[in-house]
């Protein structure tokens, strides 16, 4: 498993060696109606092999009805260090939550 490998894993894996297989991130839909969720990563020479490997590695016990594989280096990720700057501060924005509106307390079906 390697969430967030998009930079580290990929750069590490893409080093020297002509036949080094690239890294793929695997997303599995566990049942109809649910989103695909990141399951982990694996190495494979191409997309169809990545799908087969993902099936063998992440769905040996009926864990999924659908799989996506994405080349790790195709994923753009936000910088974990810019937490404060990148993600809008929730401070003073309580009005985005239902709990902000207290006057209607006790009113049914609201």
């Amino acid at each position: 498993m390697s969430e967030g490998t998009s930079t580290e894993g990929a750069t590490a894996a893409a080093g020297a060696g002509a036949h080094r297989w690239p890294l793929w991130e695997v997303f599995v839909r566990s049942s109809r109606g649910l989103s695909h969720v990141h399951a982990g990563s694996l190495h494979a020479p191409d997309a169809s092999m990545a799908l087969r490997n993902a099936r063998d590695l992440y769905t040996r016990r009926n864990e999924g009805v659908s799989i996506w594989v994405v080349p790790s280096d195709a994923i753009a990720a936000s910088d974990p260090d810019s937490k404060g700057a990148f993600f809008e501060s929730p401070q003073g924005k309580d009005y985005r939550h239902a709990t902000y509106y207290t006057k209607s307390e006790g009113v049914k079906h609201l």
Binding site: M1, S2, E3, G4, T5, T7, E8, G9, T11, A12, A13, G15, G17, A18, H19, R20, W21, L23, G40, S41, L42, H43, P45, D46, M49, D56, L57, R60, R61, A77, D79, P80, D81, S82, G84, A85
Partner: protein, 342 residues
């Protein structure tokens, strides 16, 4: 690297991140952030700043863990062709396949720390990497499949359940996946022993013999005693390890002591007892000299295991080359089609 955001309206400290000092300041900010994550018992993720020693320690632990899963396939694969029934053969194949999967989850986790799969593989086949000493013992009877499932996978579970909460996110997540699969391993082993123990006198004796041989090595899977385990303290301070080797071993002995009664077998240790004062299970002395010998490469099967891994890797080279050649061919075909269409 961490960016230091200066709160508005406050004077800049004298050691503000000016060019020459920048790396050190960034490290300091990274360290502070890391310390805060550990103090909150939160999780460190791959792109976070982390101390070099933390990274190195994780690479060592996770890659050794991955190697153990991969080498650990061999003692059991040894019995696939001789499993006593088609059902047992299917079960054993599923288990060995799971162990391969565990190795792959763990290699992926280690890769997020910046080490490559090939480097880890090379270190293993070159004999430069360590793996759990337990897999250097031979599997001489079918009952060993039972004893391994019950005791070796059992010890692994005791070790791995707390690792699901390891401070390094990818390691913890790999462990969650592994632990879900391990309980089947332990149960199928227990069942093998249970059936043998209720079989003919010869079968029962075979089960007892396997338990006798695997008992001490499985206890040693938790690592050296606490006073001889130099890395443990730091690992616990970093929230990687949650319990000491001796603590986990004592718990494990307690589980075995109860479960062995259900099997109608005995453990080869007359000193097992529950200490009412310390509330801990105690056991007889273990041969740590043997442990060190096996770990140093002088166990009964070390050379055989490495040689097998090496030859399997070499024998598979043509498959890897063929897959790469096929991929190149597909790319060339695509390019030619695009050119023709343009």
């Amino acid at each position: 690297m961490a960016r230091i955001v200066q709160p508005a309206g406050q004077p800049a400290p004298t050691n503000a991140p000016n060019a020459p000092d920048a790396p050190a300041s960034n490290d300091a900010a990274g360290q502070a952030n890391f310390d805060a994550i550990i103090a909150k018992d939160s999780r460190v993720e791959p792109k976070d700043w982390m101390p070099e020693a933390y990274r190195r320690s994780l690479v060592r632990q996770i890659s050794q863990h991955a190697h153990s899963e991969i080498i650990g396939m061999q003692p059991e694969a040894n019995w696939i062709t001789r499993a006593p029934s088609l059902k047992r053969k299917s079960i054993l194949m599923a288990k060995v396949q799971d162990e391969a999967g565990h190795g792959l989850y763990l290699y992926s986790a280690a890769e997020t720390l910046g080490t490559t799969r090939d480097d880890m593989m090379d270190a293993l086949v070159a004999g430069k990497a360590r793996y759990s000493s337990i897999f250097n013992y031979p599997t001489v009877t079918w009952a060993d499949m039972g004893a391994i499932g019950w005791m070796v996978d059992g010890a692994a579970i005791c070790n791995q359940v707390p690792l699901c909460r390891a401070s390094y996110g990818p390691y913890g997540r790999a462990m969650v996946r592994v632990c879900k699969e391990e309980s089947f391993h332990q149960r199928q082993g227990f069942e093998i022993l249970l059936e043998l123990a209720h079989g003919t006198p010869e079968q029962k004796a075979m089960a007892q013999d396997a338990v006798n041989r695997w008992y001490a090595p499985s206890l040693m899977m938790f690592g050296p005693p606490d006073d001889d385990s130099p890395n443990s303290k730091q690992s616990m301070a970093w929230n990687i390890k949650r319990f000491s080797n001796d603590e986990l071993r004592s718990r494990f002995v307690g589980m075995l002591a109860e479960q062995v009664k259900v099997l109608g077998l005995t453990l080869p240790d007359s000193e097992i007892r529950f200490n009412e004062d310390t509330k801990k299970w105690e056991y007889g002395p273990l041969d740590w000299e043997e442990f060190k010998e096996v770990l140093a490469g002088r166990g009964p099967c070390n050379a055989q295991r490495l040689e097998r891994r090496r030859s399997a890797h070499e024998d598979g080279a043509w498959v890897r080359e063929a897959a790469a050649a096929y991929h190149d061919k597909q790319l060339a075909k695509q390019a030619a089609e695009q050119k023709a269409a343009a």
